[in-house]
């Protein structure tokens, strides 16, 4: 053959590709992106925090931080809230994931779409709906007050526990989605093996299922922990001043930018510490499916009791989780100001919808949001999956650092991210092809991209960790190029994880507010800002109607996702 001729060329290429430095070539675009959009602004924030007025190195801000009781209390509160939120979200999310993925019953598909709808809760109105449900004058407290004829409402949601409740109800989807993806990839014969060794359900859960879900759980724990640390609306709504985000805002309001930079840095350090802890925990063990052949047989559920219980619990769970959404829908039909002391509103109208639909400006923000989220999500998929692949399959120096790079934007309050973006792109920079991005269409998708990258990245990574590597090798042995095997073998197998992340990212893009408000332009006003405008001008009912539109939009996204997933399923359980 012509091997003579091509041999030398091949060997140069081979030398490059087989070199242990080749991986750096592969990941360099990603690193560049992260450098530009994360490290550079982050560095500015950090340097601001360690510099005094004259620009000399000084830790006075940190000394100040750690000697102020308000700051310390905020730090404690934020960490407490985040840790508890992780736990409660995990319980709700994983429980729902199992109920809806393990048992087949009529309507399961429908429920599994509904269970995701709370993800669509618009941050602003969402917060209020909790107040309407569980606040001091909320539906439930008043309801119980009335039926038991009490002087006072028997309970109401407030303070830190209120925040945790809101977090649980809005963030369990992180666990739900990644756990669902992982459950699909879980080899059932492991459970059977445990059962055959005499272990009961509880032990199977604690020793087999949960540990095997570790990659997924770690991924979602990280996401929830960080976003809880960075959560702003919930503390605002329950008036808990002593959280890190509120303190940062306060510092900025007071013009104390050095302190706010310090607080932001402390916040990200806590999140990074958590990230390192979780990564260490995950790396202690192996989670790659290791069976010979593919997970062959599927467990059958015979006992009708278990099945009915599953159905019942699923329905109850979904309804409870849907309540806030339903309240918003309810308000959108209530006459403004008509709901005062009643359990539910007294007078109804469709006026808000009429207003909304006759307003020519209603659809612009919706279309904007769809466009910008789509652009961001496409970037997320490309870079998130590539990064996840590099992190799982390659061994290279600086891996841990890259992990941190990707996660940090998620850990920062939206305001901080947005301000970072503004200061990075309000002048022409090489990273933006010498363009000023501020004031253009691109700044928002870029912000979404940077902020949501962890969603796709983490979920894809969790799926990859579980995937049996030899399948990929099989594809290569059959002559498939890396790209071919990635496309035809790796992608389909980890698709549940990618889809979960993409869905989260897309919905996040559709609802993001805190950062958007700082960088939107009139022509790119996103949906969430549109809703906020209505709220701001106290058109409460119309705002809720707008929120309902947003919810419907997200439900459509969910349905599309379900369709894609359905085509992709390797078979649901019995």
């Amino acid at each position: 053959m012509t091997s003579e001729a091509i041999a030398p060329k091949k060997s140069i290429w081979a030398k490059i590709t087989q070199s242990k430095y080749f991986v750096y070539v592969l990941i360099s675009p990603l690193v560049l992106v992260l450098l530009a959009y994360v490290i550079y602004p982050m560095y500015k924030t950090f340097s601001q925090s360690v510099m005094d007025q004259e620009g000399a190195l000084s830790f006075s801000n940190y000394i100040n931080f750690f000697t102020t009781e308000a700051n310390l209390e905020s730090l404690r509160n934020s960490v407490f809230i985040s840790v508890v939120s992780v736990i409660t979200c995990a319980i709700v999310g994983v429980a729902m994931a199992f109920l809806l993925n393990r048992y087949e019953f009529p309507g399961r598909k429908f429920l599994s779409v509904l269970v995701l709808v709370p993800m669509a809760l618009p941050p602003l109105i969402g917060a209020i709906s909790f107040y309407f449900l569980y606040g001091e004058t909320g539906i439930f407290p008043r309801f119980f007050q009335q039926i038991f004829n009490l002087e006072e409402v028997p309970f109401s949601l407030e303070g830190i526990w209120g925040i945790i409740m809101v977090h649980t109800f809005t963030m369990y989807t992180y666990f739900y989605l990644s756990a669902s993806a992982a459950i699909k990839g879980l080899d059932l014969s492991l459970e059977e093996a445990a059962t055959s060794l005499g272990s009961g359900r509880l032990r199977i859960w604690t020793k087999i299922i949960l540990p095997m879900l570790t990659p997924a759980m770690v991924a979602s724990s990280l996401l929830v922990f960080m976003i809880s640390m960075a959560s702003y609306t919930a503390p605002l709504m329950f008036g808990v001043q002593r959280t890190m985000t509120m303190q940062i805002t306060l510092s900025r309001t007071n013009g104390n930018l050095d302190m706010s930079a310090t607080q932001s840095t402390v916040l990200s350090i806590v999140s990074i510490a958590f990230l390192i802890l979780m990564t260490w925990y995950q790396n202690r063990r192996n989670y790659q499916n290791q069976s010979k052949g593919t997970g062959v047989h599927r467990t059958e559920v015979r006992s009708p009791i278990v099945r009915y219980l599953a159905v019942l619990l699923s329905i109850i769970g979904v309804v409870v989780l849907m309540l806030p959404i339903m309240v918003i829908a309810l308000i959108s039909f209530a006459v403004d100001g008509s709901w005062t002391t009643q359990i539910i509103p007294a007078a109804y109208t469709i006026q808000h919808y009429v207003e909304l639909f006759t307003d020519p400006d209603t659809w612009g923000p919706i279309w904007n949001s769809i466009q910008m989220s789509t652009v961001a999500v496409i970037g997320n998929i490309i870079f998130g999956v590539a990064a996840a692949y590099a992190m799982v399959r390659f061994n290279f120096k600086g891996k841990a650092f890259m992990d941190i790079l990707i996660m940090v934007p998620w850990a920062l309050p939206g305001t901080v991210v947005a301000v970072n973006m503004i200061s990075a792109f309000s002048e022409p920079s090489a990273f933006a092809f010498n363009q000023v991005l501020v004031g253009t269409f691109w700044i928002l998708p870029l912000a979404y991209f940077v902020r949501q990258l962890p969603l796709v990245f983490r979920n894809s990574q969790a799926s990859l960790i579980q995937m049996d590597q030899s399948v990929e090798e099989a594809a290569q042995s059959l002559g498939a190029t890396w790209w071919h095997s990635f496309r035809r073998v790796v992608l389909p197998i980890i698709m549940p994880g990618i889809l979960a992340g993409t869905l989260l990212a897309f919905v996040q893009g559709l609802t993001e507010f805190v950062a958007s408000i700082l960088i939107y332009t009139p022509s790119t006003m996103p949906l969430s800002v549109g809703i906020w405008n209505k709220m701001y001008s106290f058109e409460f009912g119309t705002a809720c109607a707008y929120g309902v539109l947003q919810t419907i939009l997200i439900v459509i996204v969910l349905l599309v996702n379900e369709k894609i997933k359905g085509d992709n399923d390797t078979g649901a359980a019995f």
């Binding site: 492991l190 010979k292 062959v296």
Partner: protein
């Protein structure tokens, strides 16, 4: 230490039938083997005993107690899965110890038992390894140790030795058998290796396409197969079709065509055969029973194919229109080549009569 009874078990997957109408009575302490071609329903049946599948119809009882719907973890079974199903997030030690921890044994007892089990499967020193760091055979041995270490009432083994080398396989086999006899564990064994099945089993069930073909001791199955399938599946067998020419007293002479007459003994026949003159009949002749040189039932043939297998030399010999597999023990003597002539003889008492095929 429990008996197992399967009554009219049928299992469907959707519309396709995996096993049909299985009836077995496995005695307490018995070593019972499922043997049959790939895809015949062995694993499916085993999984029903374990409780991972529910029979579409039929009943399963342990010690006369109906356990058809009892949960697998309440059955006190030990199982080796065909795909191993090792816990990838645990080390070798943790895998083996799992069942013992469930049984709440003390740490020191667990350590002791696991170590003994590791010794048993020749994995001493591998305790801290991750499962990914084991070879295929080592993984299989972990699976075996994990099932054995809990000393279950019933042991279900789904091709537990398929990835071991002959030597280790043999040794492990002997050890399993010894353990089984010592502890009296009722054992259901799935294997595709007849040699293994023969050597270990008290009784064997031969299956084909989801149906039972024969249940019996190894010798019954080998020497007195109920039908063609069993005869040809268990060991190799030359099956010839012929017409009975003469029945005298205890001897039967059969014409297998090409003017070849073979003489056999009447009692060597499966239950349902009609031995009478002019009846069609099938003859089963094991290759290893055929001798080289003159003797009873002498025939002449030409060698078609030669295969050396260590212990023996296998010839495919053309005799008239028939091809006979012949197995000659390798005694170091010279090996015949394709085209050489050979004289064979078939001992009278080693011809087995079965009813005609189909």
């Amino acid at each position: 230490m429990k008996s197992v009874r399967l009554e009219q078990i049928t299992k469907m997957f959707g519309k396709s039938r995996a096993v049909e109408d299985i009836n077995i009575d496995i005695k307490s302490g018995e070593f019972f083997t499922f043997l049959g071609p790939s895809g015949c329903g062995k694993t499916t049946t085993l999984r029903m005993i374990a409780g991972f599948y529910f029979p579409t119809s039929g009943k399963i009882a342990f010690d006369n107690e109906d356990i058809t719907t009892v949960k697998p973890n309440k059955r006190n079974i030990g199982m080796v899965f065909q795909n191993y199903a090792l816990f990838p997030h645990m080390t070798v030690f943790e895998n083996i110890a799992f069942g013992l921890q469930v049984r709440k044994l003390s740490k020191s007892v667990i350590r002791e038992k696991v170590e003994k089990a590791q010794e048993f499967v020749r994995l001493v020193g591998y305790g801290d390894r991750k499962i990914t760091e084991l070879s295929g055979g080592q993984q299989q041995r972990v699976a075996l140790a994990r099932a054995l270490v809990i000393e279950p009432d019933i042991l279900l083994l789904d091709e537990p030795l398929s990835n071991l080398d002959a030597k280790l396989r043999e040794e492990t086999r002997v050890e399993i058998k010894r353990l089984q006899v010592e502890l009296g564990i009722t054992t259901v064994y799935v294997t595709h290796d007849q040699h293994e099945a023969m050597a270990m089993s008290d009784r064997i069930m031969v299956m084909s396409e989801g149906e039972v073909q024969q249940i019996g001791t190894p010798q019954e199955i080998y020497n007195k197969p109920d039908n063609h399938f069993v005869a040809s599946f268990i060991g190799e067998s030359n099956i010839l079709e012929g017409t009975i020419k003469e029945v005298s007293d205890n001897h039967v002479t059969v014409d297998v065509g090409d003017g070849i007459l073979l003489k056999g003994i009447r009692e060597n026949s499966s239950p349902h055969v009609d031995i009478a003159e002019d009846k069609k009949v099938s003859l089963s002749i094991r290759p290893e029973i055929i001798e080289v040189g003159k003797g009873s039932n002498s025939i002449q043939g030409k060698i078609q194919l030669t295969e050396f297998s260590g212990v023996s030399i296998n010839y495919l010999v053309k005799i008239g229109n028939h091809e006979l597999n012949v197995m000659i023990i390798n005694s170091g003597s010279n090996i015949l080549e394709r085209g050489d002539s050979i004289t064979l003889s078939i001992p009278e008492n080693s011809i087995y009569f079965m009813s005609e095929k189909g």
